[in-house]
């Protein structure tokens, strides 16, 4: 048996495959989101302590999960690209970064929207909030470095190295912030242990997480298609493609 593992590692073959996959992931994202939102808003019971305001966790928690997962996946693609010198891996890393940054931002904003009625302030220097903020900085650094280098090959490899350095640092930063937070125990209100969740709440949250996953894949594929066209614009297959379209 002779499988060509690298068949789809060239932009030329991956471009149409990505195009065929996008609608599937986009529709799945829509379906999961509709069902998830229905469960979150209509079926899940009102929390007896937090009232209706708790419902923001259905967006907040999946967004926070995705913000971390995407960084790891991005660093994984970056490492893959650096080790095997595969162009497409670096493009995937580049395509994932904005989505990761957006989810980090969403997690921060929804967190502060939830914090206002619950804790009475928009922002506390809680360990999780702080490390999420630092994660946003790491994403912005990656995007800024990649976009400020004109030579794409160098931009890819420099970005990949930065992502790897970041991934080594994330646990160190997380624990340092956590210890810092417990030492400066003052006005901070810890979220503490997650309260026991009703099954419907959990299902709603998991469905929303799945929706976010599907959305991320769909959007990353769309973005990687754009990046491929932009970078390979002088190659034959892109010229044929644009010739066929016009």
């Amino acid at each position: 048996m002779n499988i060509n593992w690298f068949k789809y590692s060239s932009p030329q073959t991956f471009y149409p495959l990505a195009g065929r996959m996008i609608p599937w992931f986009a529709w799945l994202a829509a379906v999961f989101a509709i069902v998830g939102l229905y469960i979150s808003f209509a079926i899940a019971p009102t929390d007896f302590q937090q009232g209706e305001a708790y419902r923001i966790i259905f967006v907040h928690v999946p967004a926070a999960w995705m913000s971390m997962v995407i960084y790891i996946v991005m660093a994984g693609w970056a490492a893959f690209g650096l080790a095997l010198n595969a162009r497409l891996s670096a493009m995937m890393a580049q395509a994932l970064a904005p989505t990761g940054a957006i989810f980090t931002f969403i997690a921060l904003v929804t967190g502060s929207l939830w914090g206002k009625p619950m804790w009475g302030t928009w922002w506390v220097w809680d360990a999780r909030l702080t490390s999420e903020l630092i994660l946003l900085f790491l994403y912005l650094g990656f995007i800024a470095l990649q976009s400020s280098i004109d030579d794409t090959r160098r931009a890819d490899r420099a970005g990949a190295l930065l992502a790897l350095v970041g991934v080594v640092n994330v646990p160190i930063i997380y624990f340092s912030v956590k210890w810092w937070n417990t030492l400066h125990q003052g006005s901070t209100i810890s979220m503490g242990a997650a309260p026991k969740m009703v099954t419907t709440m959990l299902i709603g949250m998991l469905l929303m997480a799945l929706a976010f996953w599907m959305y991320t894949i769909a959007v990353a594929l769309m973005r990687v298609r754009c990046i491929m066209l932009e970078r390979e614009r002088s190659s034959e297959w892109v010229k044929q493609l644009s010739g066929a379209n016009s």
């Binding site: 912005l140 160190i172 930063i173 210890w179 030492l183």
Partner: protein
């Protein structure tokens, strides 16, 4: 191998000695930034001594970062960096010599100047001692981590600002443990845990940062 290492170190120190204004800029920056805070906040000793650890550490962070862009830029411009890349000695090793020189030129003076500024902030004597110790243990990590950022942004437009964006988030653990050590001794607690963690940060970055810097230099120069 030792010869090459010593040569790079001696060369960088000699260059710094010949261009004293570079060192002076870093020191004056540290001095000015840390003198601005009392002017902005007010002269009450109680307030000043409570913000002193954080302010002094942030000022040291920024001062060290300011000089990072020069770490490889001049060598890149005159071609000696390419010679280092081509040299038979491992690049990561030569890089440690350059980083050590950077620390001696930009880190060590800040460490020595810090207690004087600490006095302005009404820090008690034992806190001053811990401040010096913490800076001594922590600033090598700043130079080491900063070198990765300097290598990545070598020759990139707007590298001065970009380096801040890349490096400052990675400095956070050092800032937390460094300022924490001083604050702990101010509150009558032992600073040992913080100092150990600072030393751990420096040792870990001593192992990993030169390799990452060497890889980044190869990416940037090729």
């Amino acid at each position: 191998m030792n010869d090459a290492w010593m040569t790079v170190l001696r060369r960088d120190l000699l260059l710094a000695l010949r261009r004293r204004s570079d060192v002076a800029t870093t020191l004056f920056f540290f001095l000015i930034v840390s003198s601005l805070f009392p002017l902005g906040i007010g002269p009450e000793p109680a307030v000043l001594s409570s913000i002193a650890p954080g302010v002094l550490w942030v000022a040291a962070l920024l001062a060290g970062m300011l000089s990072l862009t020069r770490l490889f830029a001049t060598d890149f411009a005159d071609g000696s960096l390419e010679q280092m890349l081509l040299a038979p000695q491992p690049l990561a090793l030569l890089v440690t010599a350059k980083i050590l020189a950077h620390w001696i030129v930009c880190g060590l003076p800040v460490v020595l100047l810090a207690p004087v500024i600490g006095l302005q902030y009404a820090l008690p004597n034992d806190a001053l001692l811990v401040l010096v110790l913490a800076l001594l243990l922590g600033t090598p990590a700043l130079s080491l981590i900063g070198a990765i950022g300097a290598a990545l942004t070598l020759g990139v437009r707007g590298s001065g600002l970009l380096i801040a964006l890349l490096v400052l988030p990675l400095y956070i653990p050092v800032l937390i443990f460094g300022a924490g050590a001083v604050a702990a001794s101010q509150h009558g607690m032992s600073a040992q845990a913080h100092l150990s963690l600072l030393a751990a940060c420096s040792l870990l970055s001593l192992v990993l940062a030169p390799m990452a810097t060497a890889a980044a230099l190869r990416i940037s120069v090729e």
